[in-house]
């Protein structure tokens, strides 16, 4: 039925003179989300973006993809037609017939908007004209302008667009409109959700993954790649950096106390992440930490970990319960992958009794027994782009 989707912008309207570049980013994102579709074109026509396809049967899938692009307030599958009144009337009847086949309709309303003032009939008059034709063709329905079962919207611009359904989207801002950040992505449930939430506000994200091969499996890498690909459905292209921090764990194990392992390792991870972010023009880090969830996520632990770097760390899940995080993970489709059994860290390196109230001075003292810079340089050599 539908050969085009009309896309309305969300908060972009608030952004004043940046609007042009925001729209441009949005169009890019829409194109990226549809990169494997053939015969699709994306263009602007006074205030809206249109996604046109030569294959009507693709429209459901196209809507499903575009719905996930941040920065869209809603979208409507539509019929694009030429602007001869009789063509518009015929197509509107087609649409009405289609809607009748899907739902019970007793009342309807036609609404016309005429941006193209060359169109010979005024909006109100044209609505009345089309409404009359519908009444004549489908006897059993009547007009209700206040609370209709179905509202058909005829938008006359450079072309004419006829629509009825309005599909809810994710909102947010177009990716890339709000800077770049580096997500610390583990194979768990939380970090993909954290990345999603920050990306939603227009941030272009890349991801960093730490492993301890051969103490972890290559299947753990595959799992993280899957999570990255899932996130890309929303966030656009993500570069995934993978680093083997086995050497750091070895050093910690040799020179430091077992219960400090996690805190020390996480301080290393932050330093490495900061370095990669700075080298690649990213302004902040993102983690999936949620206050109190595990030993390294108590107030004190988080403070001691953050102390290792200057770069701000965004923690969008900090105030969420696990159940709330899981709910979002299910919604965005990362949950099923996150619960696969392959861990990103071997239990060999998980202390039996991790510190929950680490003291900064004693952590710093332990750290002074390690050659921090050398270790970081050493593990950076293992970097891979997955």
């Amino acid at each position: 039925m539908y050969n085009i989707a009309a896309v309305s912008f969300g908060e972009i309207f608030l952004k004043g003179k940046n609007r042009g570049s925001f729209e441009h980013k949005l169009i890019e994102q829409i194109k990226f989300s549809l990169k494997d579709f053939k015969n699709v074109s994306v263009y602007k026509d006074s205030g809206k973006v249109y996604v046109e396809t030569a294959n009507e049967e693709d429209m459901d899938k196209i809507v499903e993809r575009v719905r996930r692009v941040f920065g869209i307030s809603n979208l409507s599958p539509s019929i694009k037609t030429s602007k001869e009144p009789e063509v518009i009337i015929e197509k509107t009847k087609d649409l009405f017939r289609y809607l009748l086949s899907k739902q019970n309709i007793q009342t309807f309303k036609i609404k016309t908007k005429r941006s193209d003032k060359n169109f010979p009939i005024k909006s109100m008059d044209f609505s009345a004209l089309v409404g009359g034709e519908i009444l004549e063709e489908f006897g059993q329905v009547r007009v209700d302008v206040h609370n209709p079962d179905v509202e058909i919207y005829i938008d006359i611009k450079k072309a004419c667009y006829i629509s009825s359904e309005r599909i809810k989207t994710l909102g947010g801002l177009p990716i890339g409109s709000n800077g770049r950040a580096l997500l610390l992505l583990s194979g768990g449930i939380d970090s993909p959700v954290a990345g999603y939430m920050i990306a939603k506000r227009g941030v272009e994200i890349n991801a960093l993954y730490f492993h301890t091969y051969p103490f972890t499996s290559e299947r753990a890498n595959e799992k993280v790649i899957k999570l990255k690909e899932k996130l890309e459905e929303y966030c656009g292209k993500i570069t995934l950096y993978a680093i083997n921090i086995l050497e750091i764990h070895k050093a910690i194990r040799e020179f430091c106390r077992e219960e400090e392992t996690t805190i020390l390792a996480r301080r290393f991870m932050m330093r490495i992440a900061e370095k990669i972010a700075l080298d690649n023009n990213m302004q902040m880090l993102i983690t999936g930490e949620s206050l109190g969830q595990v030993a390294s996520q108590t107030m004190r632990s988080m403070a001691v970990i953050e102390n290792a770097i200057e770069m701000p760390i965004l923690k969008p899940l900090v105030g969420l319960d696990k159940t709330e995080i899981i709910e979002i993970a299910r919604e965005i489709g990362t949950y099923e992958t996150s619960i696969l059994p392959y861990d990103d860290c071997c239990s060999v390196f998980a202390p039996k009794h991790p510190l929950i109230n680490p003291k900064l001075e004693s952590i710093l003292r332990s750290e002074s027994r390690l050659n921090v810079e050398d270790l970081i340089d050493k593990v950076l050599e293992t970097i891979e782009y997955l």
């Binding site: 091969y213 051969p214 103490f215 972890t216 499996s217 290559e218 764990h249 070895k250 194990r253 077992e258 059994p341 392959y342 861990d343 071997c346 239990s347 060999v348 998980a350």
Partner: protein, 382 residues
């Protein structure tokens, strides 16, 4: 050097087998059920293959049914033997069976009484326990010939006689997936009713297996359709796979003594060198009643999974039954042989095949030694 030592999981197809598969796909692609000559040509090949598979266990070709693999064979046999299943019946298997038998029995716990045989710390069954458990209500006993993780070989003749003496109507099914083509089997001398085997464990293609069913026994099929394989396994035959499997059978039959002898010698060499080079190692596959191709070892303070990854990075492929993660699945077989928990986590299986050679041994031993030292330097604390 690439060394594949996971032949109990699956094997590389032999070149002759590959050629036979190609030839089959080019020349014998007709449906054996078709009336025309192409169908007949394929059917003839299929019967040739049946003879090849039968020779390995000394049965007549009519007693061989081709299936989609070992798991399917076990399922067909177990369910097929249980036509008269009732609440009062009981069935017996072992605690160390492969999942394709064990999980079927678990499933059947809701339908009848299920009894599990213990083993000693080498995996051997206790004939006295079997004698005690079989009674007039025992419909079926299923016992694996060679255990896939440890390699223990059960004495089928003795166990079968015990079963039949207690209840001549009790059916005896043997999962021979790990022994077929590796240990001499003569179904004429063994008091068993059915025996399953698989192609891809003996350098044949995947997706092909077979089932010996003693002539005269009635087996109820699991699936229904065109009635192929005399109704036991409906569905168009995997002709090219079966032809490939038959080629693998022929090769083994021709060189049986040479090839198994080589496996035994290779196995002994590995065991000897492992014992010499690695401290705190326990070899779980020692003795004359062990299969020629399986070496199960437990290395203290070396998580098996870590060793597997360490070795894969050096192009050596072994396998492990247990995982090092906190969510470690318990290993049923290692529990059954009451292996010390300390050693369980460090258990790996080296399994040999036709393509392995003595040249590989020293490289593998050297690498395992390095790996063990490296991993222990991390896992041993303080």
């Amino acid at each position: 050097m690439m060394v594949y030592l996971d032949n109990s999981a699956t094997t590389r197809v032999r070149n002759e087998v590959l050629q036979a598969i190609i030839d089959a796909n080019e020349n014998y692609y007709g449906n054996p059920s078709s009336l025309h000559r192409m169908g007949l040509k394929a059917e003839k090949k299929l019967e040739e293959a049946r003879r090849a598979a039968a020779k390995i266990v000394g049965s007549s070709p009519e007693e061989i049914y081709f299936t989609g693999g070992g798991t399917e064979s076990n399922n067909i046999a177990i369910f097929g033997h249980l036509a008269n299943l009732s609440r009062e019946s009981n069935i017996i298997t072992t605690k160390i069976e492969h999942p394709s038998v064990y999980n079927v029995f678990k499933q059947l716990e809701t339908k009848c009484r299920v009894r599990y045989l213990d083993t000693d710390e080498r995996g051997r069954l206790n004939p006295l326990q079997l004698q005690e458990l079989v009674d007039e209500d025992t419909l079926l006993v299923a016992i694996m010939h060679v255990n896939n993780e440890i390699g223990i070989v059960q004495d089928l003749e003795n166990l079968g006689n015990i079963i039949k003496r207690k209840n001549k109507n009790t059916r005896f099914h043997v999962d021979a997936v790990q022994s077929y083509g590796k240990i001499k089997i003569d179904v004429n001398r063994l008091p068993l009713d059915s025996l399953s085997f698989s192609s891809h464990k003996i350098h044949g293609p995947k997706g092909v297996g077979g089932l010996f069913i003693r002539s005269g026994l009635k087996i109820n099929p699991l699936t229904f359709g065109g009635g192929q394989e005399r109704g036991i396994r409906s569905g168009t035959e995997n002709t090219s796979g079966i032809i490939g499997f038959a080629r693998a059978c022929d090769l083994i039959y021709e060189n049986f003594h040479e090839e198994t002898d080589k496996l035994y010698r290779l196995k002994n060499q590995y065991i000897k060198r492992l014992a010499e080079e690695i401290d705190d190692i326990k070899i779980n596959s020692l003795g004359d009643d062990m299969a020629p191709h399986i070496i199960n070892v437990s290395i203290k303070n070396v998580p098996g999974e870590v060793l597997v990854h360490y070795l894969e990075d050096r192009d050596i492929y072994v396998s492990t039954g247990s995982a090092c993660s906190s969510k470690a699945r318990d290993n049923r077989i290692l529990d059954a042989i009451k292996l010390d928990r300390d050693y369980q986590a460090g258990t790996v299986r080296i399994s040999l095949g036709y393509f392995n050679s003595f040249d590989e041994v020293e490289y593998v031993i050297k690498t395992i030694k390095e790996a063990v030292n490296d991993i222990r330097s991390i896992t041993k604390r303080g």
